[in-house]
Each structure stands twice: as structure tokens, then as C-alpha cells.
């Protein structure tokens, strides 16, 4: 869980940074998208690095989902008779929502790939071969922006607990101060990534980022 999760954190950080190129306008954004495909040339073929990253992400996703399913199953078997009354005293909302939140993110991921990568679906019926225009068309549709913002809330919650939890799993929080730092880092990573991702859809819908 921890190792694959950290790979995802690295990926979403880079992805979030790339999305912010939308603020630099049509040409800068599309140039960045094209650069992702030519990076490493001529040593690597076109889209070479992109496919290496995709392979790592797919393996991480399989590991992450498999581990989560195994933990979920063990958890269900560990307490087959539920409590009539059970209070949560110290656990964060995000920690208790890791599984359902994770499933939300997985469902969103499938739609997101259909939307922008595999299928390239333009809900407003416009062109799909221009990354920047597809982005603006998508987030000009209010309900698409809502879907993305909900997903980013789920991602932020997942990161809030996930960052600290991975530090704990790797054995890096061996005293009270390290524990506080890991939890603070969880907040920072969650706000920076979920917040950074949310800027582009919000500013498109607000009419700041336009075609």
C-alpha cells in the first residue's frame, strides 16, 4: 500500500503541475502535452517515456488495489459479529473513508481516462484532437466540473490519511514528533494536490481560462 501509494503521490504532483500550464494559454498547454510524447527522443521512441510511466502506474495500481482488497477482506473476517454501539474516538474522517474514497477515485479514474486519454469524449460535442480545447470544453460544462471537484475532494481525503499512513507503514514515525510531522505533511500534500488540480476546472467555469 505504502510503496505504490508513494508512486501515485509523485505522479499526481507532476500531473497537477502540468495541468497548471492551462493558465499559460492554448499554445503553452498543447506544447507541454506534445513534449510529454517527445521527451527522451531520440534515445527513446515517441511516447517512450510516457509508456514507461504508464507501465509503472498500472503495476502500482494492481498492487495498490490488490493490497486494499486483501486488507478489506481480512478486516471483514476479523469481526463478523458487529457491535450494537461503536463510537469513533480518535480516527479521522479520511482514515475511515479510505476504502470507499479509494473506490470513488478508481471509478473517477476510469471516467477520467475515457474522458481525456483513451476515448477522448467531448461532452459539448466539440473537437477532441486539441488537448487544450478539450479541457476548456469539458470544464465549461458545469456538471463535469462538479464531478471533477468531488473526485478531488475524495483524492484530498485519501492523501490526507495516506501520506501519514504510508510513513507509519514504512516505520518512519517512531516518535511523537515524527508522527505529528507526518500528519502535517498529509494535510499539506492533500491541500496542494487536490487544491492545485481544482484550480483549472474552477477557473474554466469562471471564464478565466477560455479558448
Amino acid at each position: 500500500m505504502a510503496a505504490s501509494g508513494i508512486i501515485f503521490i509523485g505522479f499526481v504532483l507532476l500531473h497537477m503541475y502540468g495541468n497548471l500550464k492551462a493558465f499559460s494559454g492554448h499554445d503553452a498547454y498543447n506544447e507541454y502535452a506534445e513534449h510529454l510524447r517527445t521527451i527522451g527522443e531520440p534515445m527513446l521512441p515517441r511516447e517512450g517515456l510516457l509508456w514507461i510511466i504508464r507501465a509503472v502506474l498500472i503495476v502500482s495500481l494492481v498492487v495498490h488495489v490488490y493490497s486494499a482488497a486483501k486488507l478489506w477482506r481480512r478486516s471483514n473476517h476479523a469481526r463478523t459479529q458487529r457491535y450494537v454501539v461503536k463510537k469513533n474516538l480518535a480516527s479521522s474522517f479520511s482514515s475511515r473513508w479510505m476504502r470507499w474514497g479509494g473506490l470513488t477515485i478508481l471509478l473517477f479514474l476510469i471516467w477520467h481516462l475515457v474522458n481525456f486519454t483513451i476515448g477522448k469524449v467531448n461532452v459539448s460535442g466539440g473537437a477532441t484532437n486539441d488537448p487544450y480545447n478539450l479541457l476548456v470544453d469539458t470544464f465549461d460544462t458545469w456538471w463535469m466540473t462538479i464531478i471533477y471537484l468531488v473526485a478531488m475532494f475524495a483524492l484530498g481525503m485519501h492523501l490526507h490519511h495516506g501520506v501519514w499512513s504510508s510513513a507509519q507503514t514504512l516505520g518512519l514515525t517512531n516518535n511523537a514528533r515524527a508522527r505529528r510531522n507526518a500528519k502535517a505533511l498529509g494535510w499539506i500534500v492533500a491541500v496542494v494536490i487536490a487544491g492545485g488540480f481544482s484550480l483549472v476546472p474552477i477557473f474554466v467555469l469562471a471564464g478565466v481560462i477560455t479558448k
Binding site: L71, H77, R79, Q81, V84, V85, L170, G171, R179
Partner: protein
Amino acid sequence: MKVTLKIWRQPDSVSPGAMHTYELDGVSEDMSFLEMLDVLNEDLIVKGEDPVAFDSDCREGICGMCGLMINGQAHGPEVTTTCQLHMRSFKDGDEIVIEPWRSDAFPVVKDLVVDRGAFDRIIQAGGFISVNTGSAPEAHSVPVPREDAIRAFNVATCIGCGACVAACPNGSASLFMGAKITHLGELPQGQPERDSRVVGMVAQHDAEGFGGCTNIGECTAACPKEIPLDVISRLNWDLHAALRHGH
């Protein structure tokens, strides 16, 4: 004061159980929680009913036998063991729901009594140090840094009551294991078996059917001895180290 008790009654480990409601009057706020149950049982015996079975031994908060889920909290609303909980923590007219620890690794024996033998088997799988008995060696011959000694003593206060398992949404015993691993791992005497200890205990923990830790933190909030969460980090660190060393 008068309280309404909703108690899990189960005649034996194989029969199904259910919640039963009892009204109890004349409860003093100076009574301990277990004394209140003693009074209930006296009433039940007079009426010819089967008294409620619950575990207790020292009633001083140091043995770990008494563990009840009280209104959804392991050991009730105070940070202490059930035996050290007093009725002054409740109000007249309160409804008190009492359940046994819920963990498939802790099967119910009767009513509120569970079998915590799984903890003993985890200890047998590595929660010890091997020393020849006989005259104790000179204590000063093995220096221990003060901070290490304090940490070892602090986590050695774990009494194995099982509240961590009872409170954990995953039913994991990681806090219990982490306490033992940190306690022995901080001291020079614990070093020779440090790798085999963590590997053996974790394997036994999983075989007993406890759940996996997801670092939620309910365990440490329920712990009457306030064992901190960082013992689980230590457990993970030691497990990674043991695996690196070829275990």
C-alpha cells in the same frame, strides 16, 4: 441512581446471543462499574436467573482481565480499565450498552467473557527473551540509555487487555504487538531475538485471524495504558529489517 443496562447474553460459545435489558436501581456513584454488575447479578440470583458472566481479576487496573465494550467504547468513557471505571462517570437514568470484545480471534465463552488465548499464542511466537535463570547478573554491567529505558518501561505497561483489538475498525492487534516489540526491542536483552520475534509474532497474529492495521488510531485512544501509535511504526520498521536480513 437508576440505570438501564443493555447487556449481551450468550449461554455458551456456540449458541447465538442477544441483547437483554435490565433496570437497576439504587446504584451509588461510588460503586465501580464491576461492583454495579455484581449488584445486578445478586438481583438476578435472587430472582433465580442466570447471572451475567464477566471477567475480572485484580480489580486494580493492572491485570488486563476485565474488558467490556461500554456504550461503544472499550473500557467505557474514561481512559482506564473497566474495573477502575466508576459509576460517577454516568448519570441517573442513563442507558448503558455492554458488549463483549468483538473479534473473531477472541471468541465469546459466555455473555461478556471472551477467550484472549490468541494473545498468549502471539507472545509464545516471539514476545519473550531467552535467558538462563539463576542469579541475576549485576544490573550495571549492561548500560541502557535513559531514553530507551523510559520508552521500554512506558510500553511495558501494556497489560494485554485487548482493548486495542476491540476498538480497531479492522480488528487488528498491531498496538499490542507493537508494544511488546518496542518494549523488548529497546533493551539490550531483546536484541538477539529481535528479528525472529517480529516475524514470529506477526505470522501468529495473522494466523489467529486478526485484521491488518490501516493506521486509523482508534486503538491508542482506547488503550487504558495510553500506548502510543509509534510502537506500530517500530513494529513495521523491525519487520522490514528482519525481511532485509533474510527472515
